[in-house]
Assembly symmetry: C2
Homo-oligomer: 352 residues x 2
């Protein structure tokens, strides 16, 4: 176990890093951020920050020397970064393998399927011809996505016709993945944690609504059957165990009519749909992640009440004064200097 006073290293300087850093400080840790972004949201609440390219070997080696463990706030950290840190003697959690699987939509689905977890039908796409063939096999509607580096609905286009497929391929190029469109009833996520001792813990399933590919709202309790939630936990258990995972990990699922689950995506990190845990659970997902990577026992995931989390995206955050006056709203703003369309600027939690 890393004793209080030790230093947690975090790759990434965004809002998840900011909230992780605050949670680490509450447990008595110092935090050192590594980010390529000057003046990042996480840096402003952390003891120290390296601003450098994620492939800057000298900076990574220095960073590795100054921290007791390294974790990540986003899954698109280059695999070489994690490997360089390990080569420099750092403990890295989650593992480079977990990052690598989550970074590649094809590998991710192959991994899930290998554990018996259903995903949408899919095909890897490396050329227009492969896309045409995949579309013929999978059928429309479908989604063409970039194989790597997609998030918040970026890098994906819906395809209904062969012409759509041509246009989409022109925009996204290869390597890509064609996924069957999933006629889901609702979307849920499971926020799961695994400690260094192998213990696991699960938060109640989160019911999520997206708009334009971006999470807009999460509510708890999710409107799903007990058996559906149980299946989601079983899937999460299999994923955590297969990866020998340490930390918080999120799986997004589509819930089909009748309750069957189709896994959409793994995020090897704390997740937007878990922001409700700051007020709504005994231990927040951020503290839980820090506990796990520091080798501490996991905290209680007990939910304290019904809860709703609403994202503030782009100009939504200009309504801060109205939200500040709403005594039912727990307001979180991320300290981002520039408001941009589709950018997550903050969130509001409401307790039931």
């Amino acid at each position: 176990m890393i004793a209080p006073g030790g230093t947690i290293g975090i790759l990434g300087g965004g809002q998840l890093g900011r909230m992780l850093s605050i949670a680490a400080a509450q447990l008595g840790f110092d935090v050192c951020i590594f980010t390529d972004e000057p003046d990042s949201p996480a840096a402003r609440v952390s003891a120290r920050t390296f601003v450098a390219n994620y492939l800057d070997a000298a900076a990574l080696a220095d960073f590795a020397r100054r921290v007791d463990v390294v974790t990540t706030e986003f899954e698109n950290v280059p695999a070489q970064t994690a490997e360089a840190l390990i080569a420099a003697g750092a403990r890295v959690a989650p593992s480079p393998r977990a990052l690598a699987i989550a970074q590649d939509r094809v590998d991710e689905k192959l991994f899930l399927n290998s554990l018996g977890i259903a995903t949408p039908r899919f095909a890897a796409v490396n050329s227009q011809a492969e896309l045409d063939a995949a579309l013929a096999s999978i059928g429309a509607p479908a989604l063409l996505k970039t194989r790597r580096l997609g998030y918040d609905g970026r890098g994906q286009i819906r395809i209904d016709t062969l012409q759509d497929a041509r246009d989409a391929y022109e925009k996204l190029g290869a390597p890509g993945i064609l996924e069957a469109w999933c006629a889901f009833e609702r979307e849920i996520s499971i926020i799961a944690a695994r400690g260094a001792d192998g213990a696991t813990a699960f938060y109640d399933a989160c019911e999520n609504e997206h708009a334009g590919g971006i999470l807009s709202r999460t509510i708890l309790p999710a409107r799903v059957e007990v058996q559906t939630e149980h299946s989601a936990r079983e899937a999460a258990t299999a994923v955590l165990s297969a990866l020998g995972y340490v930390g918080v990990l999120t799986i997004e699922f589509f819930v089909l009519p009748g309750g069957a689950l189709v896994a959409n995506e793994i995020a090897p990190r704390v997740h937007n749909s878990g922001h409700w845990t700051t007020e709504g659970a005994v231990t927040s997902q951020f503290e839980q992640h820090i506990r796990a990577v520091a080798g501490w026992p996991l905290g209680s995931t007990e939910r304290r009440c019904a809860v709703e989390m609403i994202n503030l995206i782009g100009n939504d955050a200009t309504q801060w004064a109205t939200l500040a006056a709403d005594t039912s709203a727990c307001l979180h703003l991320y300290g981002k200097r520039d408001t941009r369309t589709g950018r997550k600027m903050g969130h509001v939690t409401r307790l039931g």
Copy 2:
């Protein structure tokens, strides 16, 4: 109102500054700490820190230029510091007058009495002869305290005999205050807030236990009659209003058998007995204070559950591993490098 992205200046780098800084960050503010302590707990979670003497005029002027408002995490900030900041153009909340009153135990009691709020009988003591006379008038047992700069039971000695008075005066010297010993049934505190718009809000009364002059435990709900709590709020309202106060202010009271209140102390700041609000109230005392000094509307003070807060003092914090494994304990550690007897190292909150 200070918009998110603005900078809150905090005088003091201790645990209260640390928790204020975290609360400010959650609302989207940057925080700039001014402290004379290198590597302070608050600095490590803040965007920027000035390490300088509290009377360093150049540093204060620079600090004043870089922040949108200045507040304090401890009441023993020199009055000249607040005045220098105001002279340099800074808004300071709470006001130098509130600080000055809370810094002087005689002025504090005169102020409370002037509002009709009962305090223990007291007498200013500037010589051994004055102490003897005060003791004859007030009677034993009594407490000799330094007039200024006392906290956590430091600078006060119980007096039962004339010889005690001699010994105590030799240790504490002048200027002092002799206070009648109060045979209280229990101790409570009221955490109150007043916004820049004059709105007030109160948290439920906290019931406090001290050991060796240091707060050891706070529980809610306090075991007092509704009328007693009502009287405490009335007193707090009078204090806030008389000071034109902006921010969170705490008053400690003795509750006498029968329920009558005797005010013990004013703290013009967030308070150890309000730490339960982080998990136990909709808005924490830290966020409430930041809201007030930023000119925002006050948040909800609603209590979410029964709650117990236990301080980790000195070596208590070496039990961190046991506490980390206790899923009923919300653990807070302050990041202090050195453990010393009587030093507040952290606290634990338990939700009922």
